[in-house]
Symmetry: C2
Subunit: 259 residues, 2 copies
DNA sequence: GGTAGGCGTTGACGTTGCGTCAATGTCAAG
DNA sequence: CTTGACATTGACGCAACGTCAACGCCTACC
């Protein structure tokens, strides 16, 4: 019964702890660095030794980690700076939001894939000019703020089916008007072309959620010029205006109008 | 009609492109660094200038990015090294798997929160000894491989309800036997205690998905010693064995048995 | 023509949670 | 004493940029 012979060491080196709990020594040193789990003792040689209390704390850490909490958050909870129930509630909310985001994204990918398989390239006009009101929620939100999409969708959904039909028809008619003018070999600077350009820009401005609708004249200018360039550069756009020649006419008219 | 006066520059500086497309100049330079979108021209001053083709490529990049593809993957698709349909299919699978993972994790957090609110601390014995077969899928998978959970669950689900009841009863009976021995002030090294220790370890080994069942004697040893220490260190464990004193008895017996 | 201010450039660090060397010291065993 | 296993402290890597920092270029105004 010597003093130095304790029945149980109650103390383990780092690899033992790692093996017991299924983590790695690197992880334990990382937690040490972050201060969320410090060894019970550090030997003269610098070795880390953990005790039973440390093991328990580690298990709590691992459970909370498995629940998706961040390490700083775990530190807060363990040190009682934060109520665990509150932390878990917030985590549920975060996970729910992330789930929704993924669901929408997945649906978006599926629709895109289906459209490609249906043989049709996606309608570029709708994609970039007016924004598809089902496919690009995340994109719109990220680019122009979280409420941009909400406003845009609210605007679109506030329309009756008849009005939606009407808006789509208007777009088609504008395109046909462009094609006619281009075929007639009119000048892009002629009054008719400029009137059409004005209508085109008005339309772009009318769709909430795009830079054109932001109210900033410079953003509108950049957006219109960028679109005009793409009408020409991408044949899928150009097709909406009767081909590249038609698209060049539209571009010229828009540049003159807004330039 | 001088040669130098082109009607349209068809070329924009970096901020113009950023404004048009809703990204940032930093992103464009990043894409340049990665080689997925290079400027049409770089001026003598080092300035980047993009043309219509670049705008179109950028829009394609942004769409694919919005669909969740990684930038290297986008590069592959755009350079036609990879079929876009294949890429999208894989993306759908990835998103589905991630969705499932999040759903399980969220459910896990909810159950944990509910358990805490129900007043009962979670049953530590079930949590770490035998593993809860609904709550710790991710944890088990990450620690001991993707099929560990599958094997473990298959094992548990292969039991009839009667057998499940039986297993739980056995666990409870073992605990009661421990409590009895401890109260009787028996020696942890006595045959009865060692027999119980043997049964305890057999039980730990019988549950697939734990380090104890891995077949590695060293892993078993570390796992048993770690658990024994935690029985003492955590009162929630200790409660299963009639308190700290009972837990110390169990620990001593297990350490003697496996040591 | 000098200067302020705005836009451009190239580094380089920060983020999240460790994995993975690299260089080197320590300890138990043969 | 040597070997080999295990320990230590850096430090880089990953994904996709955000965010300074330090400095050059260009336009406009005085």
């Amino acid at each position: 019964m010597s003093e130095t012979s304790s029945r149980t060491p109650a103390e383990w080196p780092i690899t033992a702890v790692a093996a017991m709990t299924g983590t790695t020594s690197r992880t334990l040193r990382h937690y040490g660095d972050l201060g969320i789990l410090t060894p019970a003792r550090i030997g003269e040689n610098g070795y880390r030794y953990y005790d039973g209390a440390g093991l328990v704390r580690l298990q709590r850490i691992l459970v909370l980690r498995q629940l998706g909490l961040s390490l700083p958050r775990i530190a807060e909870v363990l040190d009682r700076h934060t109520d665990i129930e509150t932390a878990l509630e917030e985590q549920i909310e975060r996970l729910g939001a992330e789930q929704d985001r993924l669901a929408r994204q997945r649906e978006s990918v599926r629709r895109t894939l289906a459209a490609i398989r249906a043989g049709e390239e996606p309608d570029m006009t709708e994609m970039f000019d007016g924004f598809d009101h089902t496919q690009y929620k995340d994109e719109v939100e990220r680019r122009w703020g979280a409420d941009a999409y909400a406003r845009s969708t609210a605007w679109w959904e506030s329309k009756t089916p008849a009005e939606k039909q009407q808006l789509k028809r208007e777009q088609i008619e504008r395109n046909e008007a462009w094609v006619e003018l281009a075929r007639a070999d009119a000048s892009p600077t002629a009054p008719e072309a400029q009137a059409l350009a004005a209508a085109h820009v008005d339309w772009l401005r009318s769709v909430p959620g795009t830079p054109a609708a932001s109210g900033d004249p410079e953003a509108l200018r950049a957006y219109v010029l960028g679109l005009a360039a793409m009408y020409v550069a991408d044949e899928r756009f150009a097709a909406n205006y009767g081909g590249t020649a038609g698209a060049e006419f539209v571009r010229a008219a828009l540049e003159h109008y807004i330039g």
